[in-house]
Amino acid sequence: MSINRQPYLDNIMNRFKGNVVVAKGSLENEIYISTNKENLDDVCTYIHKTFQSPLSSIICNDERSLNKNFTIYYVFSLPDKDLFFIVFIPVSEQQPDFPSITPHIPAAHWYEREIKDMFGLEPVGHPDPHTLVLHGNMPANTYPLRKDFATNTRLPHIESKLPFARVDGEGVFEIPVGPIHAGIIEPGHFRFSAVGDTILYLDAKLFFTHKGTEKLFEAMPYTKALFLAERICGVCAASHATGYCQAIEKVAGIEIPPRAKFIRTIILELERLYNHIGDVGNVCIGASFLMCGSHGFRMREHIQQLNETICGNRYLRGMITIGGVRFDIHDDLKKHILDLLDRVKTDFKELVEIMFTSSSFLDRIETTGRLSLEHAKGLGVVGVPARASGICRDTRRNHPYAAYSEIDFDIPVYHDEGDVYARVKVRVDEVYQSMSIIEQCFNKMPEGSIKTSLKEFPPYKQALSYVESPRGEDIYWIMTAPNNMLYRYKVRSPSFCNWPSIPYTIPGNIVPDFPLINKSFELCYSCTDL
């Protein structure tokens, strides 16, 4: 399945001659491109445009103890082949800045602000210089992800005010919402500038749930950090655990047993199922269609109870482990799973039938919260919202992992729509796909062991790992340290890419539609804020 990297290497080398050093990564789907600050923008823009490669992540790493520099890695992924380009530049402590690529690649804007907050490196030329993660309540010159900052540092709380953009004019008023909301949802702060019921502009501030997760990863041995990975996000626990375990398995060079691959796939699809079914119910609740909402939550509950039977936790925590999985799925359990899914399938079909024939519900969701293909592409939107806006991108297909290369499944894509309705339709279609994937896994799953053990944990090795969670593409980048510790573990969650697109979907809609639009994106705060 591996792809021939040589043509790509030659292409980049010819274009930039002496300004870049190109090398194959140790993993067969990575190409590393070393360059400098002067050429960074050109190289990135060239790869982005020529290969139509979306930006997947930007990772900053404090490597001063190794080579006296900070290093910034820019990850691009080919849209149709399993290949990643990783462009990297050194940034010295004496000159702590780097050129912003945001003017040419808008998807980079949050990453660069995050690096400014966490490492104290200035993105020169960035259109928005404001703090993103730390809310300005830390003392000046404290940069948590630098190595000379201790994890458990206790810092005084500095009074700060966050800047907000607003619309002025006759009849325009501002509605502030959050961070403590009326519903049972995560905390964010939103300011709507509205005339009557119609929203003109939305400014959102997030990162209230910033827990220092990435710093904590560096303070734990890799065996314990697995449980932190499971808690990056409550409802994508299995995806984050898989991403983490794959990263460790890659640096350690181990292959997990085939049976474990299939069990992982089943678990990941169960996660997608309970999320998607719950999300469909949640959109109904957002549109005040409570009866369908209740049915959605009831089905979700059935699947979560099944999860608890499979691995002892309703959120599938404790199932995925380094080297495989912790519990086997024997025949009784298999029968139980398939029976339940069969029932839920019929149940869900009836629910969808009721939803999509109810004109008052359709009236709320059709044309609401439209995300154009142009915005989706420019901002690097991933997952369900991307597919609802016409981008055919799914990590399970583009960069297969677990047992996905051995399974047949369709990727639902809706062109020229991008509204709440399209996002619901993508989820509905994916529910049936997930059920079929689980069935196929059970049919193809070989007997055998479910776990291999790790012999050694090599220091200073890097790897990318990726998973398609229910919300979209998760990208992880790992660098190991001696003594079973991690040097850096960067998590790029789908919500981190999708949040910035929300303000573009809101203007022109009415205030009561905001929760509905937000629910249709199903964005997570915890894995964005980290």
Binding site: T151, P187, T209, K224, R231, G234, R298, E301, R314, Y315
Partner: protein, 263 residues
């Protein structure tokens, strides 16, 4: 219209009967941890593997005892797996909530977990009998991973658990609430919001810490961006451990808070 009625009628009543009827968590569920002091050889393995430092040694009259804090535990099951003397047993009992943090400690060889009656003492002195029949709750996310939130949603929105059957309702504003249900370690960026919310809640008010994070900081403890438990910021009346606690465990916590549990 007809199809909607038909669907609901076909589905029938799905609400669970907990706590009237006992609910048994599945076999693989990881709940209350028991330590068998006879078997414990003090090898320290459990202390080493635990990701949240839930185990400590305590010295008492020249003897060493293993102590476990359920408030910190994220129920990963590693300690049970690692102990080669089978001194640690993870049961599927999920009714762990307590009104005092000491009630969450397991001290091998010293005594059993403090009894609920004892713990109820602190509450009795308080005014919570006022809330006996109805309780209005404002949920506050002080930086959770969203897991605990989803369990509250499951309690409230799903007809299976149907929290309202206990007279407990979720309200939109702290000003309408008798009780704050707080999740998260809490984070630095939400501390001010949590304090403001607490002061916006009319007295008498009650605070419930939900999940390992709120009880102790959980897996996010000892970090620049978090505090080790919400009781470092606001006073707490009931602790519900778990990561996340299953809906039935939350119901148990509420009923304990309302003194509706007879033990």
């Amino acid at each position: 219209m007809f199809t909607k009625f038909q669907k609901s009628l076909q589905t029938g009543v799905v609400t669970s009967h907990y706590p009237k009827e006992k609910d048994y968590a599945p076999f693989r569920f990881r709940g209350r941890i028991e330590i068998d002091n006879e078997r414990c050889k003090q090898c320290n393995v459990c202390v080493e593997v635990c990701p949240t430092n839930a185990y400590t040694w305590i010295e008492d009259k020249d003897k060493r005892y293993l102590q476990l804090d359920h408030a910190k535990c994220v129920f990963c099951g590693m300690c049970e797996e690692a102990c080669s003397y089978r001194a640690i047993r993870i049961t599927n009992d999920f009714e762990l909530a307590a009104t005092h943090k000491d009630g969450l400690l397991v001290k091998a060889g010293l005594d059993k977990t403090a009894s609920v009656e004892e713990l109820g003492m602190k509450l009795k002195e308080k005014i919570f009998s006022v809330f006996r029949r109805s309780l209005h709750v404002r949920e506050v996310d002080a930086g959770s991973c969203n897991g605990c939130e989803w369990e509250v949603v499951a309690l409230y929105n799903s007809p299976i658990h149907d929290l309202q059957r206990f007279g407990i309702d979720m309200v939109a504003s702290p000003r309408h609430a008798d009780c704050l249900l707080v999740t998260g370690p809490p984070t630095r960026n939400l501390e001010t919001a949590l304090i403001k919310t607490y002061h916006s809640t009319p007295e008498p008010r009650m605070v419930v810490a939900l999940g390992a994070c709120a009880c102790s900081g959980g897996i996010f403890q000892d970090c620049y961006a978090t505090k080790n438990g919400i009781d470092n910021v606001v006073p707490v009346d009931v602790y519900i451990p778990g990561c996340p606690p299953r809906p039935q465990a939350i119901i148990y916590g509420f009923l304990l808070a309302l003194e509706r549990i007879d033990k």
